[in-house]
Amino acid sequence: MATAAVGPETRVDYLNVDYGIKSWLLTTDHKRIALLYLVSITLFFFVGGAAAALMRLNLIEPNGALVEPATYNKLFSTHGIIMVFFFMIPSIPAVLGNFLVPMMIGARDLAFPRLNLLSWYIFMAGGALCMYAVIGGGVDTGWTFYTPLSTTYLNTNVMSAALGVFVAGFSSILTGLNFVVTIHKMRAPGMTWFRMPLFLWAIYATSIIQILGTPVLAITLALVGLERLFHVGIFDPAVGGDPILFQHLFWFYSHPAVYIMILPSLGVISELVTCFAKKRIFGYSFVAFSSVAIAAISFLVWGHHMFVSGQSIYAGIIFSGLSFAVAIPSAIKVFNWTATLYKGSISYQAPMLYALGFIGLFTMGGLTGLFLATLAVDTHVHDTYFVVGHFHYIMVGGAVMGYLGGIHFWWPKITGRLYPDGWARLAAAIIFIGFNLTFFPQYMLGYLGMPRRYAIYPPEFQVLNVMSSAGASILGVGYLIPLVYMIWSIRYGPVAGPNPWGAKGLEWQTPSPPPTENFPETPVVTEEAYAYGAKEVAVG
């Protein structure tokens, strides 16, 4: 990483306190570990994105323009596994969470700094195993590893991929554990639960899901591996095993996992909306409790992935009803953000553009989720592009845009530099347009009946597919632009002050970039969260 502000007096901060590769690879500073994660997940993002690019290129033609179906299966599996486990799940918690959690509560570091570093190494080990699986022949089970395909009928790199995800899961667990202990035990004097930034509530709720859900994924993947290795019949109908049991165990984690992916983003949006409307969040406690409610209810709905699997219809009814319930806390958040914007003093810098885009796109994704939660509708659109459209609206239109908004918002704090906001707004607009062009046609394709995970399709679907692929290329350009100007800004961007946005929060009381110990003395908190005045707000 480059140096910080080069001025008459070079202040010591966490970036320039020590140089050399050992100071980075053996660091226990939560801020440096956050940057290690930032670089890693960006690399994984582009690997997963490359797989997506090849998929969309292939789908330009009904008979497959680029690859054989067997290769296509490996592409969508790679895309899913890398994006879910090595980009989405770590993204905000491991990057923004690691950087901000101690700073937002007024602590010097997380509760277990060495465990934090270990988490990163475990993550990289899992990533290496999955990259081996991908490069060394590929895996084609889909990111869902359904049995008995994965256990009995395939000869691809299922073992190494499953092992890679298994290992990476422990990184997720340890990060969540670290956050929960830190938030419980290390808040500064005066930082009560209800004075915490809502981002911390979101991270806390996410951590609960990581702690309680990920172990079940671990044991499930271990069972898949053992069944492949020893040819035992836990999920094999021929011996009395039940493939649906695999799906129950898998989705018990993987549904809450999608909330691991979105909850932190919801927390970021709360921060962005208050800062760029210069107004205290409307309904603070509602937003805080809704995060915890989402975490809790998310564990009760996994069967909605299995409506047509052979699961009993009575279980399906229960899961359907509970799935409607889980939408309610998300809706509460959207209402509260909207109420916050009302009569706010709104400015449209790039983070706010991402936040506004998020609110619209997340709402669309969420509403289509209700269609999927409806048993009768799901029977028709399950395993079609409707589902693909739904979760991409949430994951990409929602979570990724929240992540980008957060990265832009806290970039000055992290690097001590300002990025060029004009280019940032342009990129945000390109991403928004490209995203909608890519994924809105997919709703239509799914409704019309095009199945997902298919390399070829009937000719009447070609127009929509070409639109989607065109959108994907625009989206790709949109993602590359920030990469360029962010890296540029590290060396050439204008130097940032402690609080360029005039935001509230303990992290903005420190210099940019902050010193290693964050606060020279433990701060004492006396004001409520988001104590913005009615009109203008003085900086810092």
Partner: protein, 218 residues
């Protein structure tokens, strides 16, 4: 507040020893919660299949040796006692007592693993009860019996793996205790290792009836 002795024991991110102690315990309890869910997946599968294939699972259960299982249970309960007494010794700063109890716990843990390996697993393998490796049981409900033994080896295997890790951790603690590392202000590691050890004992407390006793032995 912190005296000079405590200063060495206090990590930089904490304000005082009490905060550090509570954080360590909370951290281990949360880790144990993840372990509950980890074993829980296996327990869930076992519950489902047992209720689907009760005759076969009972038949499989009867092929296990209750006496050895009960002896192993007693061994682990003893090791929990010695572990708890070891933590107490660390709290009171009694180095020799701590060493004694750590060694006892270690020995009992190794005894458990040894009994499992030699008297149970080896026996089951030779008898032809090992799915995937050597399964030759040809009585009634053979397929369900095979499924039972899948779960038997999985659950006791994952448990044994946790015991091995526990033995490793105890060895490290033993080395540190030998050097006089622990004292009344500095025993978090012993206590958290103790929590882990007791948890592994509790898993066995459930495994024993679920695998050996649940169909009844009359």
């Amino acid at each position: 507040m912190a005296d000079s002795h405590a200063g060495a024991a206090l990590a930089h991110q904490f304000e005082d020893l009490e905060q550090q102690h509570e954080a360590a315990s909370l951290g281990m309890w949360i880790f144990l919660a993840t372990e509950v869910m980890f074993f829980g997946g296996l327990f869930a599968g076992y519950t489902i299949y047992r209720n689907l294939y009760m005759p076969g699972f009972d038949a499989g259960s009867h092929l296990l040796n209750v006496t050895i299982g009960a002896i192993n249970t007693a061994v682990l309960i003893c090791s929990s006692l010695t572990m708890a007494l070891g933590v107490r010794a660390a709290q009171l700063g009694k180095r020799k007592t701590l060493l004694t109890f750590l060694i006892c716990t270690l020995a009992l843990g190794l005894a458990f693993i040894l009994i499992k390996l030699t008297l149970e697993w080896r026996h089951d393998y030779l008898e032809g009860f090992a799915p995937g490796l050597n399964f030759t049981f040809a009585g009634p409900h053979a397929k369900s019996v095979e499924l039972f033994f899948c779960f038997y080896f999985l659950m006791t295997g994952v448990h044994a793996l946790h015991m091995v890790v526990g033995v490793g951790v105890l060895s490290v603690l033993l080395a540190l205790a030998w050097k006089g590392h622990f004292g009344p202000q500095r025993y978090n590691a012993v206590e958290t290792a103790g929590l882990y050890w007791h948890f592994v004992d509790i898993v066995w407390i459930f495994l024993f009836p679920l695998l050996y006793l649940i169909g009844g032995r009359y």
